[in-house]
Symmetry: C2
Subunit: 365 residues, 2 copies
Amino acid sequence: MDSLDNHVKSVFMNFDITQPNHALKDALMRKINQKTKPVGALGLLESIALQVGLVQQTLSPQLMNPTILVFAGDHGIADAGVSPYPQTVTAQMVYNFLQGGAAINVFARQNNIRLRVIDAGVNHDFSAHPDLTHAKIGYGTVNFLRRAAMTVAQCEQALSTGASLAREEVAYGANVLAFGEMGIGNTSSASCLMRVLCDLPLDQCVGRGTGLDDAGLAKKQAILSDALHFHQLGADKPMQVLATFGGFEIAMMVGAMLGAAEQGAILLIDGFIATSALLVAYKLQPDILNYAVFTHCSGEAGHRCLLEYLNAKPLLDVGLRLGEGTGAVLAYPLVLAAVSFLNEMASFESAGVSESTCGTESVGA
Amino acid sequence: MDSLDNHVKSVFMNFDITQPNHALKDALMRKINQKTKPVGALGLLESIALQVGLVQQTLSPQLMNPTILVFAGDHGIADAGVSPYPQTVTAQMVYNFLQGGAAINVFARQNNIRLRVIDAGVNHDFSAHPDLTHAKIGYGTVNFLRRAAMTVAQCEQALSTGASLAREEVAYGANVLAFGEMGIGNTSSASCLMRVLCDLPLDQCVGRGTGLDDAGLAKKQAILSDALHFHQLGADKPMQVLATFGGFEIAMMVGAMLGAAEQGAILLIDGFIATSALLVAYKLQPDILNYAVFTHCSGEAGHRCLLEYLNAKPLLDVGLRLGEGTGAVLAYPLVLAAVSFLNEMASFESAGVSESTCGTESVGA
C-alpha cells in the first residue's frame, strides 16, 4: 500500500480544484456593504454571501437543486466494541431513510432538499429503491486493529465512485451538495483520521459517539490507541491513512467532495465524520476549503478541535451529534438566507436610507 | 411616577401567565427518546420540542401562522449622539420594510413568516399601508438624560397596545410570534434597562450599536452613565425603569410579549433590544420564560451577558447585530424542525431499529 499515495496523486492531482478567482471580491464586498444595514451586521452570513459569490463568480449567486448525499457503510472495528449499538443498525437505518422516517428525511423535506442514499459498503443486500444508489465496495470494512480497513483497490474504487456520484448531481443541476453518513463505528474511523492527519493528541480526537458511557469511552480510546500504535502512519500519506482506518462511506464522501468542488459546487459539511472526510480531501487538495461551508459544530468531542484545525467557523452550535447530514440540512436555510440578502435586499441608495456617519469596514476582513 | 409600578401591578398582575402544566413532561420525553436517534443527539432541538409540547399541552404540537411584529420608535437620547446614524433613519427604514427591501423582509419571505410593522412612536407621519399598524404613542421619546423618556400614561398605553396587538395575532391564528424592532438609539435604552434590572456593571451592558468607533463607544458610555446616575433607579421598579429609559417600541414589545404568552403562544426573542424587552416582562411575570425561545446571541456587546442572566441557550451565534427581528426569523426553521422531528420521525419500534445497549438519559435533564 506504500504506493497508494503516489498512485492516487497521479489520479487525484488531475482534480482541478483551484481557488476561485478573487477579482470579484471588491465588487461583492461593495454590494454587501451597500445593503440597508450597518456594515457587518449580518455576521457570518456576509462571509458566506461573499464565499458563494466567489465560487459562482457572480454578484448574484443562486443555489440550485440542493441535494444531500448520505453514504452508508459498515465498520469491522465495530466488532471490537466501540459503539453501544449493534452493527445491524447501519442497515436498519438505511431502511429507515428509504421509508422516510429518519431525522434526515424530516429535515430534508422541510427544507426542500433532495435526499439520495448511497450504499457504500453496508453489510446487507438491499433491494432496488428509487432513493438508493447501490455502490457497495464490500460488506463492511475489515477490523483495522491489525490490518488495513480496506485494500488499495477498494479505496480507489470508493474515491472514484464518490467523485462520479457528485458529478452526476452537478450534471443534474445541483450546485450545492450536502454530505452525510451512517455507519455504526464510524466515529472511530474519524477519530483515527483526525489523530494522524492533524497530529493532535488522541484524547482530543475521541468522543462518546452514539452514547458511550465512561467505561465505554475508555475502552474505545484504548482500542484506537492500540490500532494507531500498530499502524504507525504519518500525516504525509493521507490516502494510506484513509485506507487504513477506512470507512467505505468516508472514502466515498472524500471522492464526492473532491468531485463536487471540482465542478464548482458549494459543499455543506456536516458533523465530525463528514468533517474528517473533508480533512482527507483538504490534505489532497487544500483549495477545497474555498468551497466548503461548515454547517455546525457537533456535540461529539473532537469536532470542535477539528474545526479549529481547519480554521472553520460553523453556522450552528446546538449540540447536534446525530450525523446523517442533519446539521448540514438544518443549516441550509442560513446559507440560502446569505444568498437571498445579497440578491434581494435594497441598497442605501435604492431605498433612500441615510448611511452611517462612521467609515465602513470590510466584510470578511 | 412613583405610583406607576403599583398601578401597573394592578393592571398587569391580571395577566395570567403561568408555568405550563408539567404533567405531560414524562410522556413528551419518552416520545423524544424513542425516536430513531441516540438519546439527546438532536441537542437543543430536543429541548425546544419539549418546551413547545408543554406550552401547547400536546404530544403533537404545531406551529401555525408564524408572524413577526416589528415595532419602530424614535429616541430622544439619539440627540445626545449615541448612534452613528441620524434619527431620520428610523422612518426611512420603516419605508424600507413597507417596500420589502430590508433584511427582515427577505428572511421573512424565505421562511414564510407574516410581517407586520408597527409605528409605536416614530418621529414621522406615515400614510396608510396594509402592512403598517399606526399605534404611535408620540413623535419619539424625550431625551432621558434629565427627564423620563415617557410619561406614565404613555407607558401604559404602549403596554396595553402591545398586548392588544399580540391578542389580535393569536385570534388571527398565530401561535408563534416573533418580535423585532427598529429605532435609532435603542441600544442605549436597552443598555440602561439591563444595567438597572440585572444590576450588572455598565461596561458589560453597552456596545457599539450600529457601529460606533472607540471614541463613540466611550462617549455613549459616559452619556448613559450620567443618565443612570441622575435617575437613581433600582431593579425593584421595572415599570418605572421602562418608562424612564424608554423606547416606545420597547414598551410596546413588552406588552406584546406579555399578551402573547398569556394566550399560550411561543415567543421568538430576537437580539439585544428584544431581549431587554423580555427582561422587563420577566421582571413583571417570571413565568414568561416558559414561552420564550431565544433565537440568537447578537454580536452586540451586552447580549451574551443578558442571555446568561436569563439562563438562556440561544439557537444561533453567528455575529448578527441588525435587529429588526432578523435573528428570530432566521432561527425559525430550527424551531420548526424541533416540532417536525417530534411529529414525523419514526420510533425505534415503528422503524424496526435496534436500540442502544446503554441506558438512556433524559432529554432536558
